[in-house]
Symmetry: C2
């Protein structure tokens, strides 16, 4: 009954049912996603897909984020049909690995759902209000994370990219909600989405990783549109013996997870990345940025550092132990690069992960002074750093919970700084500042079109 | 190395490398597929999808088969962008469950591959010859069936619809061949296709089953187009620890299967369905049609039958054990319906799977007299039938190999009759006859456009 119960819950959910902290989390999620999608709009992975697929684009109902406000002309379209807009925006929003994380499942929940939803909302013949949009967004994220929790961790362990495999389902529920599907249509939409299992972890490190996010947005959007026209799937798509959960995971507790809908809100547990790289590097970056400021305050210089000793959770070296990354993509998997840019620049945004920066002398010279020791006694969001200076001085830093963790969430102000940084770098400060204002005001807008016009 | 070896084999394959019987099998496969796509073009599942998705259609480069030659005007488009044409033609070609079967894997190989290939060929700015087309078709079908064999049977057993999960890969290879991808681009195309694992068996009996075929065609087409623009995936997409084969199946022998490329041709093993339903039902239908004629010859009447005992392979009841189907779709999964129409009408074409026929008294009254016993000693294409009459007489029939099996293949003439039957029913005899002639001549055509103009 999981499929039908999910459909029933999603179709009957009202905006008034959402607790205030869930609404707030939804706004922050959408805000952060928009920043990532705009920030990733110029990335070559995004533009490659845009160029390859633009000959297939239909009626341009929906925005390709960041294209209209871009200076310069590259002949690439600024709009597309809703399905292709969902694809390209989904790719852009994940291309810097900078989007949000539902920590219990490591799903990046907003990408698939918001990419589909925004594109469909723009294509809608009636105005979509901010509240309607946020309601559909929450329905989608809850669906996505609940089915993700149901198959975690076996599903991820065997090799599925859980963001997109569950993202199709989340996107279908969100778009289905926007389209006002009946309970039965919603169940069929879930089934059509569930049968499109997109995303192998083997693709990590290639253009295809972020394609997963865009494709799952398309999968869900198409599923909802087909179901709204009476297209049928299975009303037991998720729970049947040969349904989604059993096929994609050795173990599942779908019933338990669906039972918790509306009682435990997953949207509220969403976290945001302060840095565009693997989350395990964040404690070191956080500590090194703090040291950067300490060094300045004390009138010292980073160039006088002779050695940086760090202690980290063992997983950090297992996942991000790359000593000498050759480009931005490899640098995302290097704790040494993360520490080096933190110390050198006092920040670690997309600009610090550009290929030229990764191999620049100021960065590599600090990087080579960093050593890292795995220590099982440390938490995954914990780190210890000691910097030794030429004159014998030492400065140290202990990060208990890295910024961005649930214990130390990014503040709205920090989220805004992240938004302005990445959007500013891609599209200029004026666009960034306008977009930021529109996005924060999403809940109050009477027509989503007004928001999108500023993106 | 499986991914790169497959890419290398496919990119270097030449038309002259194809043995004559492989060319012939490819022509028969395409001919049969075209009949199915035209025959299914008016089916409500096809038109539902067409109606739902036409707002997303791009530049109309490619035919939606059967729409242009249709009499009457229903405001539905006759053409679409290549991706949507691939989807709709793929749906139409499988909607009657009447397409081809690679018996060792029960893959329906031509659907995903030809749907993508035809749509892309029509969108091509240069003329595509019949030989180029057939070459790409064979490359795609070989890829699809080899990766299917590599994961069979565990992959199917756990619940994947193997036609579409492998179909994405086959379609990517075929379109990639047409686009003249480099070896490396082809490997990336295979990876982008492999990461889109579409098709759960739970969807059988719903509109979504044939959606799988269309969607996998789209998956593969998009993969090849992205790769042709430099989009990257993984060069070990199929064989990696967390690559396609290991994620979608408990067991796999990919290396062995890829080794056999060009030595054992899967295209040659393709078989064609005389009846529009699951292949496991065919022995019973074949036997019941023969009994229908025996009964007539002996001056008996089907209505005097009191009981029909059948023995079948166990898979028959597992897959098609539905006792009281409610409509044409359910009837495809009912060995009882298949036997009943065979006995009642002496045939089992699309007309015998219309909703009204399925629930009609003459059919249900015979159906209710049929029992079926699973017998492991029987082959999958074997069946035993005993009809008992009111006066105590018995007539029996033993089918060793059902018509359409490799041991009893349909002749070209039988294939043509099937084509004319189904296309004639959908679009009239004149269209059917024209289309049939064009399709048989595919190998000689210098431009595929000339063929498609008659479809």
């Amino acid at each position: 009954m999981a499929t039908q119960r999910l459909a029933s819950w999603a179709t009957s959910l009202q905006y008034a049912d959402l607790p205030p902290q869930v609404k707030q989390a939804a706004i922050r999620s959408l805000y952060n996603w928009t920043g990532c999608a705009l920030g990733g709009s110029n990335h070559q992975t995004t533009t490659k897909a845009l160029k390859a697929l633009s000959p297939f684009f239909g009626k341009p109902t929906s925005s390709i984020l960041g294209r209209a406000s871009r200076t310069g002309n590259d002949d690439l379209p600024t709009r597309a049909d809703a399905s292709h807009a969902a694809l390209i925006n989904g790719i852009a929003s994940h291309v810097h690995d900078y989007d949000d994380t539902h920590l219990e499942t490591i799903i990046h929940p907003t990408g698939p759902v918001a990419s589909a939803l925004l594109a469909q909302a723009e294509a809608s013949t009636t105005k979509v209000s901010g509240e309607e949009f946020l309601l559909a967004l929450v329905a989608g994220i809850e669906a996505e994370c609940k089915v993700g929790l149901a198959v975690w961790p076996k599903h991820y362990d065997v090799g599925w990219h859980i963001t997109s495999t569950t993202g199709s389902i989340g996107a279908a529920v969100a778009v289905g909600k926007l389209l006002n599907l009946s309970e039965e249509q919603m169940a069929h939409a879930i089934g059509i989405a569930a049968t499109q299992v997109t995303g192998l972890r083997e693709m990590f490190g290639s253009d295809t990783k972020c394609f997963h996010v865009g494709r799952s947005a398309q999968n869900g959007l198409m599923a909802a549109v087909l179901a709204s026209n009476g297209y049928t799937s299975s009303l037991q798509a998720l729970e049947a013996k040969r349904g989604w959960a059993n096929v994609v995971s050795e173990k599942q507790n779908l019933t338990e997870q669906i039972d918790s809908l509306g009682k435990v809100w997953e949207t509220e547990k969403n976290s945001f990345k302060p840095f565009p790289c693997g989350i395990v590097v964040h404690p070191i970056i956080d500590g090194c940025i703090q040291l950067h400021h300490d060094i300045k305050e004390k009138g010292l210089s980073v160039s006088d550092i002779t050695k940086i000793h760090t202690r980290v959770h063992p997983l950090v070296l297992e996942l991000t132990g790359k000593k000498t990354p050759k480009d931005g993509l490899q640098a995302k998997f290097s704790v040494y690069h993360g520490g080096a840019v933190g110390l050198a620049f006092g920040k670690a945004g997309p600009a610090q992960y550009e290929d030229e920066v990764v191999t620049s002398q100021p960065v590599t010279s600090i990087r080579d002074k960093i050593d890292a020791v795995a220590d099982e006694k440390l938490g995954a969001d914990e780190a210890e750093i000691v910097a030794e200076f030429a004159d014998g001085q030492k400065l140290s830093k202990h990060i208990e919970h890295a910024i961005g963790s649930l214990e130390a969430p990014m503040t709205d102000k920090q989220l805004e700084q992240k938004f302005l940084d990445q959007v500013g770098q891609a599209l200029g400060q004026e666009v960034a500042s306008q977009a930021s204002k529109s996005c924060w005001a999403i809940a109050e807008t009477r027509s989503l079109g007004d928001v999108v016009n500023n993106l």
